[in-house]
């Protein structure tokens, strides 16, 4: 398989995952609004910080309010991670890989782009936001389902799994971070205890992790357990450990994967250790931040291994 094709598939999968996870993250905050006491000064701007987008947000907006945050994360083309930009990136990547990715993907992505563009206002205004986000999540799942049932388990599939899981792991750290940030904000409040429950519960629900959590942990919703579950559970598809294991499996089916596999294993050990040592307080935010950096390094290793850039290809060619 051509390196370039591999790279495009990998990115298409990453961006699709980013669309879905962004919608889910907005959904967490959106439902929190209903459940948290009204006097809480709740910060939508957290979502910008969590995604490390402060700089580009502040270039564009002066007011850090709900409306601008939602607009920036969904419909702003100047934000390269927004839903609309991600959809555009998916289109560009699959346009040239239509022979490897099921043809219907193209139409589904076009439909979703159109839907997001036409219904942007529903997302910005609170009234229909839930339905709007829900539609985005469903459309993503439809595409993932299409891939699941129609793609041969060949190298293209493994590339797709790598991209999907890397982005998913990264977004899980960010979703978890979003919850911790919210917790910290309500810390000194008289309603704090109840609010904690609400925040952790919402995090689980927005990741469809509610029931899996209860079955795996056999416990009511507790911050410490939720944090550990989302990091180290071996059966829940959005947990960090699960994503990493899935990546290792994909990598094993690809050539020259030794370095990638050993990096994945090392990172998984870090995750386990961090989850054991760190509770769901402010220090977890640093741990999650480090994990995001490690995932970025993992991406570099993947890129160097399989997406031969000119320099690497040149050195191989000289050796021929």
């Amino acid at each position: 398989m051509l390196s370039k094709v591999a790279e495009r598939i990998y990115w298409a999968a990453r961006y699709l995952e980013r669309v879905e996870s962004t919608a889910r993250m907005l959904a967490i905050y959106d439902t929190l609004l209903f459940d948290l006491p009204r006097q809480l000064n709740f910060g939508w701007y957290n979502l910008i910080e969590i995604n490390s987008l402060e700089e580009s947000f502040n270039e564009r907006y002066t007011v850090q309010d709900e409306r601008n945050v939602v607009k920036f994360l969904i419909g702003d083309e100047s934000n390269p991670s927004s839903v609309i930009s991600s959809l555009k990136a998916i289109r560009e990547n699959i346009r040239t890989t239509r022979d490897v990715i099921p043809g219907d993907t193209w139409e589904l992505v076009n439909e979703l782009s159109q839907y997001v563009q036409e219904n942007m206002n529903q997302g910005i205004n609170r009234r229909n936001r839930h339905e709007f986000l829900d539609q985005i999540i469903r459309a993503c799942q439809q595409i993932i389902g299409l891939w699941q049932v129609s793609m041969p388990r060949d190298k293209a599939w493994e590339m797709l799994k790598l991209g999907q899981n890397l982005e998913r792991a990264d977004m899980t750290t960010r979703n978890l971070d979003a919850a911790v940030a919210a917790i910290i904000q309500v810390e000194d409040d008289e309603y704090a205890v109840n609010s904690h429950q609400t925040i952790w519960g919402n995090l689980l629900r927005s990741l469809n992790a509610d029931q899996p959590y209860r079955r795996a942990m056999r416990s009511s919703v507790k911050g410490e357990l939720v944090s550990r579950f989302l990091q180290t559970d071996t059966q829940f598809p959005r947990s960090l450990s699960f994503c990493l294991e899935d990546m290792a499996t994909a990598a094993k089916a690809l050539p020259r994967s030794e370095k990638v596999i050993s990096d994945i294993h090392r990172l998984n050990q870090t995750v386990t250790k961090g989850a054991e040592d760190t509770g769901p307080g402010p220090e977890l935010r640093d741990v999650l931040n480090d994990l995001q950096i490690s995932l970025q390094y993992l991406h570099f290793t993947i890129s160097r291994t399989w997406f031969l850039n000119d320099q690497e290809a040149e050195s191989l060619a000289v050796a021929q």
């Binding site: 022979d99 050539p255 290809a313």
Partner: protein, 487 residues
């Protein structure tokens, strides 16, 4: 209202492909015409709509690049096929093979001994001034002595009903994927007619193309790695590049996917490292192939590709330099070329052609600009042409100046009475529209001609310009065997 062939307005002096006189379809088209006239307006509309939705579903498109954006346009398609009898096609097809065989001997001669010039058949300055002659190719010996492996030859039928060659496209001819897609569309929307009529299939082209390309491999015996080299998504024929690569099971690559090693072999960058490529079906022009040899700033090509090709480490189809025979002045000499190399008379005649560098012929051209079609020698795609009868006085004066300034660069031909075929206009009306035919000819160890080819039709009333970049459409082309009816 249904189609009434008696009402079909044949044009005086033009040959119609389907209808010989009002109400009388030609023999190979009889069943088709009867079937079409049995449909009512709604049925015709539903066939038309089915064809349009099929085109959308299959994603058949050509790309128009304008104002910095790519627009994928749906392929304009007419549901009434063009029909040719198999007896006539056999003769035409033999003529096409003959022509390509001679052209390849000519190209090979030009890059070696140039006997045809020494023997005085072709004046030397034609070669000296040719834009497409590549001194870099001299002395190279491609396999089987073949340089132009894939040729798209444009045929037209004049008022007398005879096929003439209008031009030979030997550089990177496109359109074959549309020929194949047109047939798939027709099978879906007119299945009933396929039951009754013996229509020769066209689907073996990708297989024939692959076999021809594989036969060029510098490592015969192994299963060769074949790649289609495309300029990328911005090229108007990208759809076709992807289509052919997919159908052949070949890799679709861009220049940046390839690299030439110290060993002069060409490699593609894969997730497993570098993998050697044996045959490249290149769909980029000579001048962009290799920045080390041609345009130094080309990012479409591969540095070192010419070196690899000259050393015989990779096969390129078409070979660099093959375009030397794709020149409208050389075209005028093809009958002599066929006689010189094969000792045969051409089976398909040329359109009468006036060479502007010859004084007498130029005088005639300048005096008759309003009746002639003037073409630059080295352009394709219908650009830079003067269609005399449709031109303004100002345009004619402009061309007169151009011709005088650079006579070698222009040829002129009489305005042809391009044949017509019934084409659906509006809901259920059929009117004659002008068309041509582009068959594709392959030559490697042996040769192959497509069954029929791509019929391009000028959708505008009276227009003679069929290029898709200029608003043309297409039709399916049926080669029909009338000797034995289907049971």
């Amino acid at each position: 209202m249904s189609i009434d062939w008696k009402q079909y307005e044949l044009q005086e002096g033009f040959y119609d492909e389907l209808i010989s006189s009002p109400g009388n379809p030609r023999v190979p088209a009889r069943q088709l015409a009867n079937y079409l006239s049995s449909l009512n307006e709604d049925e015709i509309q539903s066939i038309k709509q089915a064809s349009e939705s099929t085109i959308r579903d299959m994603g058949v498109s050509f790309t128009v690049y304008s104002e910095g954006e790519n627009i994928d346009r749906a392929w304009p398609f007419d549901i009434i096929p063009r029909v040719i009898s198999s007896q006539q096609w056999e003769k035409t097809s033999a003529g096409l093979r003959q022509r390509l065989q001679a052209l390849n001997m000519f190209i090979d001669d030009l890059y070696h001994d140039q006997k045809i010039i020494k023997d005085g058949i072709i004046p030397e300055f034609i070669l000296k001034q040719s834009k497409n002659y590549r001194p870099e190719c001299e002395g190279v010996n491609p396999r089987f002595g073949v340089w132009a492996h894939i040729c798209g030859t444009d045929l037209v039928r004049d008022g007398d009903g005879q096929f003439y060659v209008l031009e030979d496209n030997l550089r990177v001819p496109s359109g074959v994927s549309y020929m194949l897609e047109n047939r798939s569309i027709m099978k879906r929307v007119l299945p009933e007619v396929f039951e009754k009529v013996n229509i020769a299939p066209v689907g073996d082209y990708p297989e024939a193309l692959f076999n021809m390309l594989a036969s060029l491999s510098p490592r015969p015996g192994d299963s060769p790695v074949v790649a289609v080299l495309t300029p990328g998504i911005f090229n108007s024929a990208y759809f076709e590049h992807a289509f052919l690569a997919q159908r052949m099971g070949a890799e679709l690559v861009e220049g940046s996917d390839l690299v030439v090693g110290k060993d002069d072999c060409v490699y593609m960058k894969t997730i497993g490292g570098l993998e050697r490529v044996d045959v490249i079906y290149r769909r980029i022009d000579d001048m962009f192939l290799d920045p080390e040899v041609f345009h130094p700033d080309s990012v479409l090509g591969v540095p070192g590709l010419m070196r690899a090709w000259r050393k015989g480490k990779v096969a390129l189809a078409n070979a660099p330099g093959a375009g030397v025979a794709d020149d409208k002045v050389v075209y005028a000499y093809v009958p002599q070329i066929i006689k010189y190399y094969l000792g045969e008379e051409p089976l398909i005649p040329n359109v009468e052609t006036y060479l502007c560098y010859e004084d007498k012929q130029r005088e005639y051209v300048l005096a008759n600009l309003d009746k002639l079609v003037v073409k630059p020698a080295n352009e394709s795609g219908g650009y830079g042409m003067l269609v005399g009868p449709h031109s303004t006085k100002k345009e004619r004066e402009q061309f007169a100046d151009l011709i005088k300034a650079n006579p070698r660069n222009y040829i002129a031909q009489p305005t042809l009475a391009l044949s017509t075929a019934p084409t659906l206009v509006g809901r259920s009306k059929v009117e004659p529209r002008h068309l041509d035919l582009r068959p594709f000819i392959l030559q490697g160890e042996s040769s192959y001609v497509t069954t029929g080819g791509l019929t391009r039709v000028a959708m505008k009333k009276g227009s003679l310009v069929v290029n898709s970049s200029q608003g043309g459409g297409s039709k399916d082309t049926w080669i029909v065997d009338t000797s034995a009816g289907k049971a």
